[in-house]
């Protein structure tokens, strides 16, 4: 059997069919270029989630050390908590960008850039950030994020 055409996850089969899990190509998952989960880019463990928006083939994929967690994304209708994992370099880049540009906008620009477009400003999205393993230990007071929600 050609392992390359096997799906990454076992397909839903009719009950009278059986599927031998030992034939699943666990070791060949790298062959698939579409990530089933954005967290791990089709690997078994979490990897840095950096990718170049202009060239999506350019990813990082090193072991992440840090995380950034947000209550909701831009979308006022999204009720999920999002967590992004990064290596030191890309975490530092994100934090620098957030601190100096995205969350440092004057209020009028924040209104025109985000709220008028129907987006939640990033300042009201962020819950916490830090080293992996410390999740939930230093959440920022997010009363306003809750009331916004």
């Amino acid at each position: 059997m050609n392992a390359m055409i096997m799906p990454a996850a076992a397909p839903q089969l009719d009950s009278h069919l059986s599927f031998d899990e030992s034939t699943m190509p666990d070791d060949d998952i790298d062959l698939f270029d579409f990530p089933p989960s954005l967290d791990d880019w089709a690997r078994d463990k979490k990897v840095c989630q950096y990718f170049n928006a202009d060239d999506e083939a350019e990813t990082c994929g090193t072991d992440p050390e840090y995380f950034i967690r947000a209550d909701h994304c831009w979308d006022p209708g999204c009720h999920e908590v999002h967590t992004w994992y990064y290596c030191l370099r890309h975490f530092a880049a994100n934090i620098g960008y957030l601190a100096r540009e995205i969350c440092a906008l004057p209020t009028d620009l924040e209104l025109t850039r985000y709220v008028r477009c129907g987006d939640i400003p990033p300042r009201y999205q962020l819950i916490e950030w830090g080293r992996i393993g410390e999740e939930g230990t230093h959440e920022l007071p997010h009363d306003s994020a809750r009331t916004v929600r």
Binding site: A53, L98, W129, P141
Partner: protein, 262 residues
């Protein structure tokens, strides 16, 4: 192959009659059937409901068929309330690729050209827009949304929203040997010189000339403090106006959702 481009700019001082004139030119040259309309200003009925639908799916062309864009929820595709900001931010990139051909003997009569769609994204269906009661005539008595126009192409049944500051570019490619056939590309967006390019964070912060780890950690420490300060300011008086706006955004959204569920 000859390529020809016509451009329609909606400037703050552009008159609707001037735009109509330019659309007539395009119709005459390329065989389209554009007419200019306005978006109605929605009115709240006494029972509290609005007299139109704000949110619609956009059309796209996939596997040889016209489909509604299902990748996003409706409210992220087209929402009259945020349309002007999306257009000004270049977040509503409507475009179509059309193939035109004249089957009649008289090639001068371009208005007889048949149009077929070969590619499309982020345009409204004319039927959807009418059903949602979004459009009105240019000279209608009812109030209209300022700074917003709808360029309606009747042969294909498509609506291209345009706002002050946007530009419609119509490009025709024609093979010199087949002068009865041509390809049209229609795109609405900001003029290229005005397009805001938000820089990638990774180019400015630790991009190609990445410093050593120690420098990076030092700067990270400073940035972490700064970010904390910036985020905590969200509860301050200075950000009150943003907070209230974001709250009303969520309330508005929740109300729309409730209505859909009912």
């Amino acid at each position: 192959m000859t390529t020809e481009t016509m451009v329609i700019d909606v400037r703050p001082y552009t008159q609707a009659t001037q735009l109509e004139h330019e659309f007539r030119n395009i119709n005459h040259r390329y065989g389209t059937d554009f007419s200019l309309h306005r978006f109605r200003m929605p009115i709240r009925r006494p029972d509290g409901e609005w007299d139109c639908m704000f949110q619609l799916p956009v059309l796209t062309y996939r596997y040889g068929e016209v489909e509604h864009e299902h990748g996003l929820p409706d409210y992220r595709m087209f929402d009259l309330r945020y349309l002007r900001a999306w257009l000004a931010d270049d977040c509503f990139p409507s475009y179509t690729e059309l193939e035109a051909s004249i089957v009649e003997d008289n090639p001068i009569n371009r208005s007889a050209a048949k149009l077929s769609i070969s590619g499309m994204g982020w345009v409204l269906g004319l039927e959807d827009a009418h059903h949602a009661r979004l459009l009105t005539e240019l000279d209608a008595d009812e109030p209209t949304v300022t700074g917003l126009y709808a360029a309606v192409e009747r042969k294909t049944g498509l609506v291209y929203p345009m706002a002050t500051g946007t530009r419609m570019t119509v490009t025709r490619d024609r093979d010199d040997d087949h002068r009865n056939q041509w390809k049209l590309t229609i795109a609405v967006g900001l003029p290229p010189e005005q397009t805001l390019r938000w820089p990638s964070p990774y180019d400015d912060y630790f991009g190609k000339d990445c410093p050593d780890e120690r420098t990076m950690r030092d700067q990270l420490e400073r940035d972490l403090d700064l970010l904390r300060e910036q985020v905590l300011a969200r509860d301050s008086d200075r950000c009150r106006i943003v907070r209230q706006a974001a709250e009303s955004l969520c309330r508005e959204y929740a109300a729309t959702q409730d209505k859909e569920e009912r």
